[in-house]
């Protein structure tokens, strides 16, 4: 029970930091950067759910991030064009609005697509892949290949997707100037709020019976089958939830950063996000978020000082974490805390009665 209280206290502290302290203390452009990290943290939260809890090492979350981002970008482009063709289409010599674009002129359809398209793709993929019992490294490679193929598709269809440049130059974001400081500030709060709500929902999921089932599927898929559950269904549902989160993250990313392009969602960005989750601690949802924020902050700071160095540092950090601390930063923190408690408990137990303290398992 005290674990739970501590969890809420921690959540409240982080919420206070993000919603009050950061907006007051940080200059506008730094707050803007933080908003970007928080977008990535939303996608990371999905990875924490799929990989940390469900054991699905998904190396292609960029695909879902991209689907959400492009859905949002397409709407903004159409809105800016005001009935005409979006600028990049004119430059590429496209004469009529492609059929694929037409539904995205409607903001409701576009916003729904932000979540529903990634979810639908994940369900389709999950139904194909998990039912055939593709898992482990095979699933990881498959998801990565998907990210690679997605980028090739985007780059190749210049007239449809904006090619390498992606979708950018937005002038109107739901009646506001997307570049204006006030819009950016509002977006920051929106992103932080969405992250907070999704975190609480994910936590609820992890603590539920479904969450226990998910861990069971991760640790013994075949055994779960003989308990009468369909592991493929459990995995597909979870994968779809994580895809939906990535889609939402991508959509929020567009107004915050002002662009969605293939270089933001290919193999490398997808991998970087997984590395961040591993460093933060994949078995705890908070670890995924922490990892995404800290690693992306470090990336930005490092690139300002020593371009190129980040790649090596990131690689080294990943190897270190996987070999020495597979539970990441959160795991190290828990270890330290338990060791402290044990030392304190040992002296207390000597006075009272000997016995092993029953550790309450609390899903993070």
């Amino acid at each position: 029970m005290s674990e739970r209280v501590r969890g809420y206290a921690l959540f409240a502290t982080v919420a206070l930091l993000l919603l009050v302290v950061a907006p007051l203390a940080l200059p506008a452009f730094r707050l803007d950067e933080l908003a970007k990290y928080l977008c990535l943290a939303i996608a990371a939260l999905g990875i924490g759910l799929a990989w940390g809890q469900g054991g699905m090492l998904t190396l292609g979350q960029g695909v879902f991030f991209g689907l959400g981002g492009y859905a949002m970008g397409m709407y903004l482009k159409l809105h800016d064009a005001g009935g005409d063709l979006p600028d990049f289409m004119v430059w590429s010599g496209v004469e009529r609005l492609p059929a694929l674009w037409q539904p995205f002129g409607n903001p409701v359809v576009a916003l729904a697509a932000v979540v529903l398209v990634p979810v639908a793709v994940a369900v389709l993929l999950g139904a194909l892949v998990f039912r055939r019992r593709v898992r482990g490294a095979y699933f990881a490679i498959l998801s990565q290949a998907l990210a690679a193929a997605f980028v090739i598709l985007l780059v190749g269809q210049q007239g449809l997707t904006g090619g390498t440049n992606g979708l950018t130059n937005f002038y109107d974001f739901f009646g506001r100037d997307p570049e204006a400081e006030s819009t950016q500030r509002t977006m920051y709060f929106v992103v932080a709020g969405v992250l907070g709500v999704l975190y609480l929902l994910a936590r609820q999921l992890v603590g539920s019976r479904f969450g226990r089932l998910l861990v069971a599927v991760r640790d013994g898929e075949d055994r779960v089958r003989f308990l009468g559950y369909d592991p493929a269904l459990v995995k597909t549902v979870t994968f779809a939830i994580s895809a939906g989160m990535a889609g939402l993250a991508g959509a929020l990313f567009v107004p915050v950063v002002g662009i969605i392009s293939p270089s933001l969602l290919g193999v490398v960005p997808s991998l970087e996000l997984v590395v961040a989750v591993a460093v933060g601690g994949r078995y705890a949802l908070a670890g995924a978020i922490l990892g995404a924020v800290v690693m992306n902050y470090a990336k930005t700071s490092f690139s300002e000082e020593w371009a190129g160095g980040w790649l090596y540092l990131q690689g080294a950090l990943f190897i270190l974490v996987m070999t020495l601390a597979p539970k990441g930063a959160v795991g190290l923190y828990q270890q330290a805390r338990d060791a402290l408690a044990r030392r304190r408990g040992a002296s207390a137990a000597a006075v009272e009665k000997p016995g092993v303290a029953v550790k309450e398992e609390v899903p993070a």
Binding site: Q204, L205, G207, S208, R209, F210, R212, L213, V215, A216, D219, G220, D222, R223, R225, F226, L227, G228, Y229, D230, L233, V234, V237, V358, K359, E360, E361
Partner: protein
């Protein structure tokens, strides 16, 4: 229904829930029949090797059946076929009138067949209660699992009691001893209220005391379940078995009660050999 008499009202209630299963609906037509499991002409071929070579086996409602045979006789393979893990190349497996061959594993479980494995598998990260609860809620739709578990359900408490793990309820299953894991697995089966339990070498690797407890547990469970036990241990067999089927090289060699089987010269030759002399 052709259920054996059940003890206690709570149990009858649980049965009512299980009655929604496909098995009961399918089995209703067969309500008169006493045969729960009927295996006919079963053949399993692995790369040209006949692991099961024409097995017929009938298990009646309420029976406690021991399945023995030397290493490689095909005992585990037989259980694998019943539970959908292995597809036979010929033959049929009918459970309460329903054909099992070709069905998916989790569907077969939903018909009311539970199994354990030779090497026990429990979910180490989950507590003992969580393991049992997971087993107990398998008939609920997925969305109904989205809520947090509150307390311990009667079914789970009963299973904890039966397998004697109440004191360890809140410990992670990872800390359990080998014997306790086997009991937890059996508990998980009981919590599912299956109509047929298939236990693959439940006492392998257990200490003498643990074997004894398992034997008692088995006797208790057999009072109101149909159970098939694969077992090697002759001492255990002599103490707890009544009906025995001997498998050898993928065929049924002998079937009968313990005394008959032990006295059969063919059994002594292929299987009991030294063990029979030692045990005699």
């Amino acid at each position: 229904m052709s259920e054996p008499p059940v003890r206690g009202a709570g149990r009858a209630e649980e049965r009512a829930e299980a009655a929604m299963s496909e098995a009961e609906t399918a089995g209703r037509a067969e309500a008169g029949a006493r045969e729960l499991l009927e295996i006919r002409g079963l053949q399993v071929v692995f790369d040209g090797f006949r692991a099961i070579d024409g097995v017929d086996l009938t298990v009646r409602q309420g029976e406690l059946r021991f399945l023995i045979g030397p290493n490689g006789a095909g005992k585990t393979t037989l259980i694998d076929v019943i539970t959908g893990l292995t597809r036979p190349s010929a033959g049929s497996v009918r459970f309460a009138g329903t054909e099992l061959v070709g069905r998916k594993e989790h569907r077969i479980v939903r018909l009311g067949i539970g199994r354990t494995f030779q090497t026990s598998v429990v979910f180490e990260e989950l507590t003992v209660v969580e393991n049992l609860d997971l087993a107990a809620t398998f008939r609920r739709p997925l969305w109904a699992l989205l809520r947090r578990r509150r307390g311990v359900s009667d079914t789970v408490a009963e299973a904890l009691e039966t397998v004697g793990l109440t004191d360890l309820a809140e410990r992670p299953a990872g800390v359990l001893s080998h014997g306790q894991r086997q009991w937890l697995e059996i508990g998980m089966l009981i919590a599912q209220r299956p109509r047929l339990l298939l236990l693959d070498e439940p006492v392998a690797g257990m200490s003498r005391q643990e074997r004894e407890r398992t034997g008692e547990l088995l006797t208790t469970i057999a009072e109101d379940h149909t159970v098939v036990v694969v077992e090697h241990d002759m001492e255990f067999l002599r103490r707890y078995a009544s009906q025995v089927t001997v498998l050898h090289e993928g065929r049924v060699l002998v079937e009968g009660d313990v005394a008959q089987v032990r006295a059969d010269p063919r059994v002594q030759e292929v299987y009991l050999g030294r063990t029979a002399e030692e045990a005699a």
